[in-house]
Symmetry: C2
Subunit: 205 residues, 2 copies
Amino acid sequence: MPSTIPDIVISRLPVYLRALERLSQEGQEVTSSHELGKHLGISSAQIRKDLSHFGGFGKQGTGYKIAYLKDQLRQVLKVERDWQVALVGAGDLGSAVARYRGFAERGFHITYVFDSAPEKIGKRVGSFVIRPVDEITQIISENSIKIAMIAVPAENAQQVADTLVSAGVRAILNYAPINLNVPDSVHVQYIDPVLHLQRMTYYLT
Amino acid sequence: MPSTIPDIVISRLPVYLRALERLSQEGQEVTSSHELGKHLGISSAQIRKDLSHFGGFGKQGTGYKIAYLKDQLRQVLKVERDWQVALVGAGDLGSAVARYRGFAERGFHITYVFDSAPEKIGKRVGSFVIRPVDEITQIISENSIKIAMIAVPAENAQQVADTLVSAGVRAILNYAPINLNVPDSVHVQYIDPVLHLQRMTYYLT
DNA sequence: CATTGGATGTGTCATCTTTCACAAAGTGAA
DNA sequence: TTCACTTTGTGAAAGATGACACATCCAATG
């Protein structure tokens, strides 16, 4: 396994994992790069090459055992364990994120929710008590939380990110429609549905 | 302007546009590829080359007039107009999407919301009346709606997509955690925050 | 007016990514 | 066993994307 694997390869692994989970839920036990590729709209060669970065998971003539490949991918992605996640922002967007069950179902447990509005502190969103942003640094570092989600207005997102980073967060999922500047050692991913829509309208006549 | 511009270039234009809107909101009137690149973590050469696909928007020695570049990008992306969008699914996720103000603010107006649950029909989510999925085909084709968002359980997403496509939808934003198979003439973008988280955990020690 | 400084647009080159194509290996049937 | 068929893993080729570097142009200043 080479020391550095292209990020674009890494970005496809969760897609493969998701498809495998679906197949296994449907009771299927074995699949092939060709079948997977057909489901995902990806060439079979690409799937094989991507997987080959991490070792030979398949068997010639047979394909891949779904349960085994799933386990291997989970380990590669480090999602065979559970992760604690902090959420900053309990407005419309933040509340929706807090209530979304899909995170915990797939191993990402929101354990703290922060907001800056004094009138929200102590109230609940879903099953979480809202805490003041002043406590971010202490709580995150004490609990060694490495992943955070930002769902605050764009104006405040950079400042929140700075606080999170200095508290020890290493991965940020940013729902605010703004680019964040963080050290190279911190990973950021963005969710902005409007960007996706704008990308598609280009192709509409 | 070449007849076919790489999709990866198109995918960056909304990011540029978002940054320009931010700068102009802050009162700035002129920027440069260098400054933009610094904000976005992209090389200045790449920004210049991307923009050059569509003509010379800047002036040597000066840079880009923000208002003008914004207008041009909006036209290129076809977001200088408003778009009608249909939403399918009024569960937890769909309701949150329906209530999110960011779509209308940026020109994407949800005009119809559909759900399959009989007990939800006629009720409201935000300012929308929930309609039965049986009416999708008729309403979408009568109103020439070209863009739809899917926020139904993964099990039903493909079927919903098929219906939308046959009704004339040409662009789909899919919140369901599953890949959709659609004709080449239809564009699909995916929103699955867990995929982004899983991509980042790979890099966490 | 001439000169200096700064920023674009772009040809060229380097790097990254995907596809191709095939040897090697496993399966199942006769 | 042998044969026909399937599918992986992987070098090598092709293709796509990004970085470099500079000629060209514009603005501002003395």
